[in-house]
Structures are given as structure tokens and as C-alpha cells.
């Protein structure tokens, strides 16, 4: 399936990418992350959460929505 991957804050900086479309044939978030770590090895040491369709999910969650975001620690306010 085609996924819209979004990167925020520090992660957009290190990947030099704010958003991209990725073709994903696996099933869980952790499989998706393996794919992204291959593409951007620097991501592997970074602290972040994953949101699927704007909800924070665990790495065991099945990828079922098109919008996946990688969110480093929040620093609003």
C-alpha cells in the first residue's frame, strides 16, 4: 500500500524530508520502521513516537491507514 510518511521537527531536519510517499508491503509499524531505518539510518538513534491517522500507536500496531507520522518529543508552549 502507498503510505504518506510525515516527519516533524528534528526528524524532518535529519531526513531532509517533511513528507514522502512510500510503498509498503509489510504489516506492522515495526516493519515499517525497519524500512525507514534502512532509508535513513540516522533515525535509528532518535527518540520519537509514531502516529497513524493522527493517533499515537505502538510498534506492534498493524499499519491500516495511509497517514503515518514520526513525532519527536513535543516542545510546544
Amino acid at each position: 500500500m502507498k503510505l504518506n510518511i510525515k516527519y516533524f521537527g528534528l526528524l524532518a531536519e535529519v531526513t531532509q524530508c517533511a513528507a514522502e510517499v512510500i510503498d509498503f508491503s509489510g504489516s506492522s509499524v515495526s516493519e515499517l520502521l525497519e524500512l525507514l531505518f534502512e532509508k535513513y539510518p540516522i533515525l535509528e538513534n532518535k527518540d520519537f513516537q509514531v502516529a497513524q491517522n493522527q493517533k499515537i500507536v505502538s510498534i506492534d500496531t498493524l499499519v491500516s491507514e495511509h497517514e503515518i507520522a514520526l513525532l519527536p518529543p513535543f516542545s510546544g508552549g
Binding site: F8, Q54, L71, F74, S75, G76
Partner: protein, 147 residues
Amino acid sequence: MKDRKPKNVFKEGAISSEFIGQSIAKHQSKTSIGAHNIFLGQVRADVIDGKTVSAIEYTAYEEMANAKFHEIRESAFEKFNLTCMHIYHSLGTVKIGEICLFVFVSSPSRKDVFKALEFIVEAIKADVPVYGKEIFEDASHQWKVNS
């Protein structure tokens, strides 16, 4: 004034003191209100490793952030006896001394506004995907971390 639809909390650039004054003025027709409590976040000229912050550049996962702001809003209305609640957060560049967060709660009674305001501000810091990039005077930067 409960408002059940999510709205856009973000404003481009700093939040002006005039805007805050006008928000206060708008509440003078609501005569069931006895207490207002306002939180303002202001950008600090922190010195980090000898370099001074000159501004913060805010970005956000806007759709998710607005949904989260809405959740926080609903949950505050459920927990506390509030008449009104308003939240504004800056996007883009906010210079030191300028205001980047404006949270405004009103209630018949003061006990409710104190508890509600702290709840909302802590929830914003913890749960809303907003990112601050601290820009130093020499144009270098670092990503802000909330404490």
C-alpha cells in the same frame, strides 16, 4: 460557551498584547463569569553554551495538534465548571519577549479556573505535536526540549 467543533488554535507569528486585551474585553458581556485565569508563554533569551536564543520557530503536525487541542478542551469542560475556554498557539517565528501561547479560562468561581488552567497547560506541553526550534543570535539552532 462550549464549542463542540474543533477549531484552528494556531496563529501565524507572535500573539500580541492587544489581541489578549481584546479577548478579555469580549468577556465583559458574560456576567455569569466571576474569575478569569490566563496563561501566557513568552520566548526566553536563554543562554546555552555561551549562545543566546533570539527567537523560536514553531512548526506543528497541525491536523493532529488541533484534534489534540480539541480533546484537551472537551476534557477540561468535563472536569471543571468552565464558562469559556480559549487556546492560541503561534506557528512560525516568535522573537524573544514575544508571546507564543495564550490560554484563557473563565468560570463563575476561582477554584475552577486555577485547576483548569494548570491542567490545560500541562496537557498542551505533554500531548500536542508542536515543535520549537531555538534560533541563536549567530543563526545556528537547536531543537527545544520541554521540561
